[in-house]
Assembly symmetry: C2
């Protein structure tokens, strides 16, 4: 890797061109509360229009790429990111305050995700072809030859998240799944990590060039203004939006998308407090171990995970008292970790203060106050079921290492609390065998509340695989029908097209006679395997 | 079938109860322009609330039905509809003006559709299970046991269409696919055929009872007010909406859905003029046959199909002149057929008059004017490519047997016209082998414009099968990612749920060890077949 690949220019990356702007901004090192060089160009509506025009121009050629070519492109992006070496982890750490070990793991997750989508595209996961045989002799009417494949919806706008500067940002899950679906991508980089974004953006650009793809397949717009994001979602050439961030931000983009002349889908992952149910037998048998696991999950990465366990629900019992004592002790000794941005640290402190002053919950424990600038001092609160159900503010997400324990009077109270929570990314059951009856009663409720249900684990940690669901009912996401992690995420950016009686010479390869791409296909309703990979 | 099953009461069907209302309305026989007995209760917001409460109460039990039970229910509906006998076809004919032969075919399509969804549910098409094996030894972190299945999104509101009183109405495709997905259904019956709706609604109710399902699985609200539909879409217990009808109606419902505290998806099929491209060689070799086929498709059912060919695009040529002469002659002799409602007949006459007076198109031919009340007098117009592109009003749907031919100066003009059309349900190519090069240039454009591309056929006639797409870009539908006909339609009403490390005793059967339901499942990314059906 030569020096140019890892030096930062602060430019806006529109296809193959570097563009400047009148205004600029700098990233902030949250640990030192100080600005970091260089200055980054502040993209505006004119840049959106240029990027969107390039993306629209690139779409026909890009969506026509064969699975092998598209998979090779995804793999090339992964390799280019790896080739950036330590510079990427260092810059991401400087801009996010996250430790190098975490970022090294996140980088592996990012490249692994790109390679998983590559394998899924090769396995026909983008095309999902279906063929129905003609029945020329059928009475009263013959049946035509019908073949279906999926194609990309068009250029996709991706909003990078602050809390995963690699895995949910420029080359994160939204970008990987949209590119896998055959859609050009325009990323609106998160202003908290513009340097990390530029490094990864240039890696993608190199992969575009190396694979001989049209430049408009990828652009990166950096900026701090709401105007930039609004212009991107409103652009008529954008066909779908992926977003991870705040509830207010996601809802604002969804409103813009719904108000367009041609409305488009917004996949916004927004807000989740991830309830954990500590069932009685599990509490009785291992309250202290549960407390240790809980505090570890709560304080991991300063609690800055979408799946952070912010709500604990249990029956009033000696086991719960033991859990609270152990959790309070562990939390009291938990160090204050630097948060991603000064704004996030302020919002966290404000959310915790509001709970402290609410009168509806009692403060059980706070973590150590010895962190530096923008540190997150963990917090644990307790309330009862009636107060929780009567006080919607208690169920609001406090982004960071803050959790609320709800002490329930009885099973009915516990089920009522479960029914009262909003939509969630996850719900967790801590249970022993003697808890199965209660768990069976809870499960149908939780299935309607969350996208993922865990037993005897902690919700932080989202496996990238085929069976993952990182999604859930509103307000966890704006679209309950899908996931933003795992191979199923590709369906967000696909649409079906049917070909009726098209001459063989004109049929796309995915649905052609003889299955030239070797894809698994549904033929007359029966799954037919593809060529072995 | 006893007499009670086929006698009409005019009641609102809320679960198992018949409800009355303060106000009522009657259907109109469009052929005689006269009201038909009996009076039907005018449902209002209070009925919506009752039906929604019952549907929400029924949802947990209904979505938990095993594939076999749900499939048997769908088949029971089909049998109950058949058991209604001639009364159904007679009443539907009286209310719609459609001939008995068409309605008999439509009834077969309706019952066949229910049975296809039954077979698809048995084949795992609702659950679509995915399993990823645990990897306890993986470094640096073990992988959990992850299993995914799909469940229904919740109660679905279905708006019956006027133009298919059976196949897109009370027990039509939206209802069949929502029930197949495990969602209770509340139908807002189309006020043009309330008697047909009541007959079919009672058939569904009998199937609900015979299958031992909770009564709230199905309700039928009949009424004429916008207030009724608005209240239904706004009800917080409704999770998704299926609609077939006008662009204005679909957009109004989409706005209500997007403005809810918890937004929900609206699958609205709205507006399509279904361009037909007559390529030069085909025109030269068989202009007269094309004209005959075209006029047959255009005037079928008084042109009242979503897929009616309302736009014909061809290069200026002697072949096109022959086509126009033959089509004009055939259309001039086409009888005036009764339209579905007086309102539709008025809108058709107004749309044709607007084209006649637009100055942007010339009237080529009109059909016979000897129809009775509310007859559709077919109309054929011609314009050129430049005028078409400059006059958006020419591309607006005129629901009924009206079509516009666009005479293009050259291939560039023809491609420009293709790019200028809005989103469509279908696009058709009439082509011979010598037209393949031009067709290959058109195909990528058409794939981005339409959900289904036909060659050498006519778009009317939508096969119900696995590879069908009855959908398309806006404004053909409000959601390009799906179809309202065929087994893929079930995905509109499903959402994925993931189970992580759940004890075997608590796992749903669809993802349980040993595959007790015998469903095809994706295991570690590879398709595994189910038990043979």
């Amino acid at each position: 890797m030569n020096a140019n690949a890892t030096s930062l220019t602060g430019a806006i990356l529109i296809g193959a061109r570097d563009l400047a702007a009148d205004r600029s901004f700098r990233a902030v090192d949250p640990a030192r509360d100080s600005a970091i060089e260089p200055a980054f160009a502040e993209a505006g509506p004119a840049h959106v229009a240029e990027a969107a025009a390039l993306a629209a121009a690139a779409f026909p050629a890009y969506r026509a790429t064969a699975p092998e070519a598209r998979a090779a492109f995804l793999e090339a992006i992964a390799s280019e990111i790896e080739a950036l070496g330590d510079v990427l982890v260092e810059r991401a750490g400087l801009e996010s305050g996250l430790p190098a070990a975490r970022l090294t793991g996140e980088r592996a997750r990012t490249t692994g995700q790109l390679r998983l989508f590559a394998s899924w595209v090769r396995a026909g996961g983008a095309d999902e072809p279906r063929l129905d045989s003609p029945q020329p002799e059928r009475k009263p009417l013959p049946r035509a030859d019908l073949r279906l494949r999926h194609i990309g919806v068009g250029p996709v706008a991706v909003f990078g998240a602050s809390n995963f500067p690699l895995a949910f940002s420029v080359a994160g899950g939204d970008t990987a799944s949209a590119l896998a679906a055959g859609c050009p991508v325009i990323v609106k980089g998160h202003p908290a990590h513009p340097g990390t974004s530029e490094l990864v953006g240039r890696a993608i650009r190199r992969a575009v060039a190396a694979c001989g793809l049209p430049e408009g397949v990828f652009s990166l717009l950096t900026g701090t203004s709401h105007e930039l994001g609004s212009a991107l979602v409103a652009d008529p050439r954008i066909a779908a939006v992926g977003f991870t961030g705040s509830r207010a931000g996601g809802l604002a983009l969804a409103r813009i998308a719904a108000g367009r002349e041609v409305p488009i889908p917004v996949y916004a992952e927004m807000s989740s407090i991830n309830p954990v149910f500590l069932l009685p037998e599990a509490l009785a048998s291992r309250a202290e171990a549960l407390a240790a696991g809980f505090v570890g999950s709560l304080t991991l990465g300063a609690g800055q995970f979408c799946t952070n366990p912010g709500l604990v629900i249990a029956l009033d019992s000696p086991g719960l008292d033991r859990f609270l004592a152990a959790a309070s002790a562990a939390l009291g000794g938990a160090p204050a970790a630097t948060m991603l941005t000064p704004g996030i640290a302020r919002a966290y402190a404000g959310g915790v203060a509001a709970l402290e002053e609410s009168g509806a919950a009692q403060t059980l424990a706070r973590g150590r106050a010895d962190g530096g600038a923008n540190a997150c001092r963990p917090a644990l609160f307790v309330t009862d079921g009636a107060a929780f159900r009567a006080t919607p503010a208690l169920a609001r997400e406090v982004f960071g290492a803050s959790a609320l324990v709800v002490r329930c009077a009885d099973v009915e109270d516990l089920l009522a609390v479960a029914r009262a929570v909003e939509g969630q990314l996850t719900a967790t059951l801590q249970l022993d065998e003697g808890d199965h009856a209660l768990a069976a009663a809870l499960l149908p409720v939780l299935e309607e509340k969350a996208g993922r249900i865990l037993a005897n684990g902690w919700p932080t940690g989202v496996e990238v695989c085929h069976a993952m669901v990182h999604g859930g009912p509103f307000p966890a996401t704006s679209d309950v029908r899908t996931t933003s992690v795992g191979t199923l995420a590709i369906r967000r950016f696909l649409r079906p097209v049917c070909y009726q009686d098209l001459p063989a010479a004109l049929l796309p390869a995915a649905v052609a006679d003889g299955n030239p791409l070797g894809l698994p296909r549904l033929v007359d309703g029966a799954a037919q395997p593809g060529a072995a990979p």
